[in-house]
């Protein structure tokens, strides 16, 4: 394609030739920009008889050229165009439409600095209220507006237990086995200097049962099931399924979130027990391999080191952590907006916030237990 300029007589003449379509107009852009800004006198003729094909992009360039020349106060005539091209150029507006510029004064520096901070504070407050709302609605159950039915749907809870609990067993067991083995190995190497290798059993037993077992299981579940809950509820929100439940007269929190919360509070303690057994088994294998402590000795020592408070103090934390994971996931799911990006953002936020919540809760439990000497 090409565009060239000839002048003579009482005006100028622009000749366009070739294929004026969007993939080929790049080559002619500099020429056209030159023509648009050039000045001259008299009438201008734009000859399109050599144009083979033209689409909106090519037509727009011609239209823009005509407008530019007309604003210079010159007469422009289009010659040689086929009827299709003529019509195409005619339907284009003279100027590219553009949105109205935003009006109103620019916010002050003070406003721009403190608006985000204030927004974060109100967001946190809003999250807390939403969490309480979800907890409250969940306790009320899947009740209809007029009080019929309600309570808990066992099938849905069992289904969630299968998804979030039973299918998590292999990964939780494997992870805990390795964690127990690692703690035992590191402990054994350090305690060897003092000739106190047998105390590695105390170390692993107490650490695993009181802290690590429940904490890592909760983190794993936050990543595995918390994200799933947020994604499920979020995509239901996007497709107006939550609105449909409300209109039908059901409490969406009760129908969707309550079974998940119940399932989480059941499975997290159970998974913690599995995690504890797996970790102790891993520790026993490692101490036997590296330090020659037999299973009998390990069990005897474990029996002396661990009393019921160690087991109970870990297990008590599990349901609370499960509730925290479930509520954070549900709150984030309910906040999902219309776009896929917002879904991704809230799933990320759900995992990060629930892991953070679990660790904060764990530290509060640690302070509490030491205060009551449990």
């Amino acid at each position: 394609m090409a565009a060239e300029q000839t002048s003579g007589g009482d005006g100028e003449r622009f000749v366009a030739r070739g294929d004026w379509r969007n993939h080929s107009i790049t080559s002619v852009l500099p020429t056209l920009e030159g023509l648009e800004t050039s000045t001259g006198r008299g009438r201008i003729e734009i000859d399109l008889s050599g144009v083979d094909a033209m689409d909106t992009a090519g037509a727009w360039l011609i239209r823009r050229l005509i407008t530019a020349k007309q604003t210079q106060g010159r007469d422009v005539a289009l010659v040689g165009a086929t009827s299709n091209i003529d019509e195409l150029i005619a339907v284009l507006p003279e100027r590219a439409p553009a949105p109205a510029a935003p009006t109103g004064p620019r916010p002050s520096l003070f406003e721009r600095t403190f608006t985000p901070v204030g927004r974060i504070v109100t967001d946190v407050a809003g999250d807390l209220v939403a969490a309480m709302h979800i907890l409250g609605s969940a306790v009320r159950g899947a009740q209809m507006k007029f009080g019929k039915g309600g309570g808990i749907s066992p099938a849905s809870v069992v289904n969630q237990i299968d998804h979030m609990g039973v299918r998590a067993v292999p990964i939780i067991a494997l992870m805990s086995f390795l964690i127990g083995a690692i703690i035992a190995q590191q402990g054994a190497f350090q305690l060897r200097y003092f000739g106190a290798e047998i105390f590695v059993v105390d170390l692993v037993g107490i650490l695993q049962l009181r802290e690590v077992g429940v904490l890592l299981t909760a983190i794993m579940i936050a990543g595995r099931s918390g994200s799933a809950i947020t994604a499920e509820i979020g995509s239901m929100k996007m497709r107006e399924e939550i609105d449909a439940l409300t209109v039908i007269g059901l409490n969406p929190v009760g129908v969707l979130i309550f079974p998940r919360l119940v399932a989480l509070t059941i499975i997290l303690p159970l998974l913690t027990i599995i995690a504890n057994f797996a970790a102790l088994y891993g520790a026993a294998v490692v101490t036997w391999t590296y330090s020659g402590i037999t299973f009998e000795t390990f069990l005897a020592r474990l029996h002396q080191a661990v009393d019921h408070t160690s087991v109970a103090s870990g297990m008590i934390k599990a349901p609370f952590m499960a509730l925290a994971i479930g509520i954070v996931a549900a709150v984030e799911g309910m906040k999902v907006g219309g776009s896929a990006e917002s879904l991704g953002k809230h799933v990320t936020a759900s995992v990060v916030k629930s892991i953070f919540a679990v660790i904060v809760m764990d530290s509060f439990f640690a302070i509490f237990y030491s205060a009551i000497d449990f």
């Binding site: 094909a53 909106t56 553009a98 949105p99 219309g338």
Partner: protein
């Protein structure tokens, strides 16, 4: 290139899309069986059929979103299976698709949605792409303010229009529209039909339109094809439809709803011609 196009324009009914002996199935069910279909340059083909007869399957197969069991599909004279990679890319830029629910990218604004294909395929400065995007937005009847909105902030009709603007971003030769007027109010739907007809006239588009809207079929479609019994039952003008002896086709085109549209169309025709 230029010469062949002029020759093609002279040849009256150039085939743009040709589907030959197409068979598509899922598992043990055959959805389309030895289906044949031709679409000619510059026409608007309306595609109808009862729900579940495979209209969407056919469109998705033509667009290569579904695998086929047999048969060949030629788009703009090129068989995709035999094309080189360059030819395939060139072919992709000459097709535009309006999906039933818009399928706008939800994390991009309307303007970015329209510019996405331009950015990929064309080497144009940003200022020109902005102008072109705004032109497309105006062409489909959206306000310029819609350009910076995200799809979740748009109404159903605006999503359809924005999606059409994206389908037209590269000035394609062949446009596939999947139920373009479903979910629009009658006035909006009529405007949309007129828009498609105007674009066909100015840009020389060929339109493949899956629709259930009798108004669209009667007002803008040059030719109608009916899908049934796993093949194209009948194709042709409206008169052919009325004459065709099949219970479904008869009840579709001669039902109560169709009759009311036909009478209003006939009433409206003289005024439409006068302006």
């Amino acid at each position: 290139m230029a010469g062949t196009q002029k020759d093609a324009a002279q040849k009256e009914r150039q085939v743009v899309l040709s589907v030959h002996d197409l068979t598509v199935g899922f598992g043990s069910t055959i959805v389309l069986d030895n289906l044949n279909l031709d679409i000619y340059r510059g026409e608007i083909l309306g595609f109808v059929g009862a729900s579940g007869t495979g209209k969407s399957v056919l469109m998705r197969t033509v667009l290569r979103l579904l695998p086929r069991r047999g048969g060949s599909i030629k788009i703009l004279g090129t068989d995709y299976d035999e094309a080189t990679d360059e030819q395939r890319v060139a072919l992709d830029t000459r097709l535009g698709v309006l999906f039933q629910h818009g399928a706008l990218f939800s994390s991009l604004t309307v303007k970015e949605n329209i510019q996405l294909p331009m950015r990929e395929y064309l080497d144009l400065p940003q200022s020109l792409m902005d102008e072109l995007a705004f032109l497309k937005i105006e062409m489909v009847g959206l306000a310029p303010e819609a350009a910076d909105k995200y799809p979740s902030e748009l109404s159903g009709g605006m999503i359809k229009r924005a999606a059409l603007a994206r389908a037209l971003a590269l000035d394609p030769d062949l446009v596939f529209l999947d139920e373009p007027t479903s979910g629009l109010d009658p006035i909006g739907a009529a405007e949309f039909d007129m828009l498609i007809a105007r674009l066909r006239d100015t840009l020389g588009l060929t339109v493949y339109m899956v629709t259930h809207d009798l108004d669209s079929l009667f007002s803008v479609c040059d030719r109608i094809a009916v899908l049934g019994q796993k093949r194209v039952l009948v194709e042709g003008t409206l008169e052919d439809m009325f004459a065709f002896d099949d219970p479904w086709v008869q009840s579709y085109f001669r039902g109560k709803r169709a009759r009311s549209v036909v009478t209003t169309e006939q009433d409206a025709t003289p005024t439409a011609q006068s302006d």
